[in-house]
Amino acid sequence: MPEIIIDGRRLKCEEGETVLDVCKRNRIEVPTLCYHEAIESWGGCRLCMVEISHPKWPGWSNWVTACLYPVQDGLVVGTNTTRVRRLRATVLDLLLARCPNSSVIQKLAAEYGVEDTNYEPRLDGDNCILCGLCVRVCDEVIGVTAIGTANRGASKEISEPLKEPPVDCIGCAACAYVCPTDVIQVIQTPDYRVIWDRTFDMYKCVECGISHITVEQKDWLIAKDNLPADYYDLCDICKRKHTAEKQKELSML
């Protein structure tokens, strides 16, 4: 079992883990924006950069993204050294220029001493940092690939195919939930949900009319778990009432 040293602490880890996994388990704080446990790491935001060294490389050190770097026995990691902090400050300086109005970025940048960006801020843009979490959750977890990236370079953006309401979207709003800077707009009413310019009808409880999921999401869940078509007919409150009814009958026996 490999052992690594993070910030002076000798920590046991499993084969194949990344440095970030070990940090998270041991409550060592490493800032991340494009990382999510349920989604494959991508190393896009460059915020989780750490400094590594090894007894076998005397005098050498390197910077790597903690979310992608696999552990190896004897690795020495610094998560909060001066050089790491300077590196993160540069990344945050650039992110702040991209989305100067994002409170998440402002807060993180302030933690690293960046109050104002040294670059020209993009004042008319949205708060998207192009971390791609929304695209990846849609592709990897939900498996419908309703959204993607469009264009290249400075004009790259997250977009629906052909900028039209995405036909494959099931309206689950997982993209909005995982978005680190809360860019994706969801309009939620009891009857419908609007996301990516597409309006979804909600699947309502047959007894009280409360809804949690969209009709498309219900179909997706039924296909995924191979369930009867009426499995999702009741909302949690009505199901709870039915359970209580059952338990009442049981206790009256």
Binding site: V137, I142, A176, Y177, H212, R240, E245, Q247, K248
Partner: protein, 155 residues
Amino acid sequence: MKQLIIKPKLCTNCHICELACSFKHSMEFDLAHSRVKTIFHAEDDLTVPEICLQCIDPSCMKGCPTGALYLDDRINCIRVNYDSCIGCLSCVVSCPFGNMLQDRSKPGHVYKCDLCDGDPVCARFCPTGALTYVEIEPLTGSVEMELEKVEAEVG
């Protein structure tokens, strides 16, 4: 193995379990934040405290597309790993008993009974013993026999 036992006949609908649960998890006395919900049946004058049953074959875990729900086998409890949750509410709609809850003020935020890490406050504060967290023997006889045993205990 300890389990949370519900005895509706002993419940007086005092809501103390809900208040204790809410305070433990959100530092607020708000019944909406409670993991346990008491449901009053006026016609029989009986209240049933509803709480996660910690199923052996949990539907919430099966419905979750990311594996964010996991079994804490130390206390036999299904828990939520919020770092893996993507807020799709599949677990809320999958639970056949309605015991997976959703925070209505925060879209996508789900919560469930976590047995307070092995010391459920609902059972600790229940004044009548309607909710108890006790050591139980695994079921051996028929369901009827077990029910009779419970009947004899409750009276």
